[in-house]
């Protein structure tokens, strides 16, 4: 009984984090057509930002979260303007530019904080016990925050005018441009929002994870697997895919021996099997090849 509850708690948390990351990655891919390898690097930057603000400046964790999110939004928009916008027409160049940006972040963080493992204290301490399973308040908080942000994002996308502009640009760039939507401005705003979401994911997960300069690699792989599993550019697909991946990971960790090593392998294997049956992912719409 307790192991099932363990699986549910861990699966929900992992799933929510992957959902936040994957939805924001899908937004960038859909609107700006950028495969942003540096996406989880922003997640790392936000996490380090919280560490700095709480540790060296002595602020409490909530304002630190705001600082981290705002900083990552600004960083994301500046990087888009300076490095990505001028080469957007060259797909390959954008790809390796985002890789290089991720490396820059990793190295800068190593320089400032060294490669050692760090940790951040919980926002709220303490735990309660149901059916013999410890559930930390921090885990509950992470879950609620993720759910809240996803609801806000959905309201923004489907109820506001800017959200409409975003969705129409994702559907057809040229027609959206003809309808008077400033496409490059929308792309920049999307980049800001999406990076902000990644930063937020980093901010709420940081007390549960170990902080180190390579922490972006594993979530990057899982995020990409989620996005592909759900179907590129489909927000619903990213959401469902994230929880599938999250629960698979949790189940492998708790149920199989050597689970900690195998968790990613099994999750990725499931993705490959799904793709063999449905090459466009669970909810994917096959983009007509632009010829």
């Amino acid at each position: 009984m307790s192991i099932i509850l363990d699986i549910i708690v861990m699966g929900l948390i992992k799933g929510s984090i992957y959902a936040l990351l994957a939805i924001s990655f899908s937004l960038i891919f859909g609107v700006a057509r950028i495969v942003n390898i540096a996406h989880t690097a922003f997640y790392m930057v936000a996490a380090y930002c919280i560490y700095t603000v709480t540790n060296y400046m002595g602020w409490s964790a909530v304002p630190a979260m705001f600082v981290a999110v705002i900083l990552s939004v600004i960083l994301g928009m500046v990087i888009y303007k300076v490095f990505l916008n001028p080469i957007r027409e060259h797909e390959g160049a954008v790809l390796i530019a985002t890789m290089a940006i991720a490396m820059v972040f990793q190295e800068v963080m190593t320089l400032f904080f060294s490669g050692s493992f760090l940790s951040v204290p919980n926002l709220i301490d303490g735990y309660f016990i149901i059916f013999g399973v410890k559930v930390f308040y921090q885990q509950l908080l992470t879950l609620c925050a993720a759910a809240l942000v996803m609801v806000i994002l959905m309201i923004f996308l489907f109820k506001t005018k800017l959200g409409l502009a975003l969705r129409s640009t994702a559907q057809d760039r040229e027609v959206a441009n003809l309808m008077g939507i400033n496409e490059s401005k929308v792309a920049m705003i999307t980049m800001g929002i999406a990076i902000g979401l990644a930063g937020f994911a980093g901010a709420i997960v940081v007390p549960l994870e170990i902080l180190e300069p390579h922490m972006w690699a594993t979530p990057l792989v899982m995020m990409m697997a989620v996005v592909v599993l759900g179907g590129l550019g489909s927000l619903k697909g990213s959401f469902v895919g994230a929880y599938i991946m999250g629960f698979t990971e949790a189940m492998v960790v708790f149920l199989s021996p050597q689970g900690a090593f195998l968790k990613i392998s099994v999750a990725l294997l499931i993705m490959i099997i799904v793709l063999l049956i449905r090459p466009e992912g669970l909810f994917g719409v096959y983009f007509e090849e632009e010829r």
Partner: protein, 346 residues
């Protein structure tokens, strides 16, 4: 005697009329000479080691270009082939006691098998889907490596592999001559009819299929060829470093090869090789500023891309050579008329 003189004269004629007229061909000759004569100028073991590793990575980067640059099947998990080659060469060498000249080709054949295993699911996927799916394969294998530490050595990897050759200079010559040979073979493949079909698959796959070419077979062929060359690079690496650890399957290696190939210019073969020989020693020789070198590397890549998004070597070639508008023959940029058909160049 007369025959030898005849061939010598022919060689000089070819050199004068075909090679010396184009700066890019001169550059290739200089590169070959540089690689072959380097041990004459330096016997610093560190320099030799850096250039040996650069040769290995040049084969690796060129094999990525053969697959992803030419057929457009974007592979983000190219470290799989390298790692599979390295691990199988190491295991074969260790358990069956086979010499490197047998274990490396056998490892490369296992790389071909890996290419088939990745290639078959990849046939149904396109573009970004393919890129993100291939990223998964080396990570799956890494998971397996960690799960069976008795067989694969786990985190520490396999050590105690036989040396490739007794001395550093021997190793340097074996690897660099292999590099020159394999890269020439790859360049010849891309220049043949097969290479033209690879090009066409990248440009418009439906059109190629409509002209009666079995694109499935050619895509699988590209995966196998690429797996073969990358497997050889992996085997050489295992025997040179005398260790095959999980680092050969890392995501960063997969990303590195994409960076090298795109930086030099994709779909050229010479681009990735040049990029490796430019970037790898650059990063290595920056060891005086140890902490900053990866940072510097990333900035060099970003800045070069901002101004030359098609790749460094392609940009350079455009600057020093122009194509004749009438007969499509390349000319040095300083000429006013084409060297073959005397049409004015603009």
């Amino acid at each position: 005697m007369k025959l030898i003189l005849f061939y010598l004269r022919k060689l000089f004629a070819v050199l004068k009329n075909e090679v010396l007229v184009l700066p890019s061909r001169v550059a290739v000759i200089i590169f070959f000479l540089f690689i072959l004569l380097l041990p004459l100028f330096t016997d610093d073991l560190y320099v030799l080691r850096v250039f040996t590793l650069a040769s290995i990575f040049a084969i690796f980067a060129a094999s990525w270009d053969l697959l992803s640059g030419f057929t457009g099947q974007l592979n983000f998990g190219h470290a799989l082939f390298f790692g599979v080659g390295a691990y199988s060469a190491a295991l074969i060498n260790l358990h069956w006691q086979l010499a490197p000249w047998l274990s490396i080709p056998l490892g490369a054949l296992i790389g071909v098998a890996a290419g088939l295993i990745v290639g078959i699911p990849a046939l149904r996927l396109k573009g970004t889907y393919l890129a993100l799916t291939t990223l998964a394969f080396p990570i799956i294998v890494t998971g397996l490596v960690f799960t069976f530490p008795d067989f694969t050595g786990g985190e520490l990897g396999i050590s105690g592999i036989q040396k490739l050759a007794p001395t550093r200079i021997h190793e340097y010559y074996i690897i660099s001559i292999l590099m020159l040979g394999l890269c020439t073979i790859m360049w010849k493949i891309t220049d043949s009819n097969t290479g033209i079909i690879f090009h066409a698959i990248r440009e418009d796959e439906i059109a190629v299929r409509a002209s009666g070419v079995n694109t499935t077979r050619y895509k699988l062929l590209a995966f196998c060829l690429s797996g073969f060359f990358a497997g050889i690079a992996g085997g050489l690496y295992a025997h040179f470093m005398r260790i095959a650890g999980p680092s050969v399957l890392e995501i960063s290696l997969s990303f590195m090869v994409v960076i090298w190939a795109m930086f030099g210019g994709a779909a050229t073969i010479y681009g990735p090789i040049g990029a490796v020989f430019f970037l790898y020693p650059l990063v290595e020789f920056m060891h005086v500023i140890q902490d900053y070198r990866t940072l510097m590397f990333a900035f060099v890549v970003l800045l070069v891309l901002l101004f030359m998004p098609d790749g460094l070597f392609r940009w350079l070639r455009e600057k020093i050579e122009t194509e004749c508008p009438r007969c499509k023959v390349r000319n040095i940029a300083t000429r006013d008329t084409c060297r073959i058909c005397t049409a004015p160049l603009d």
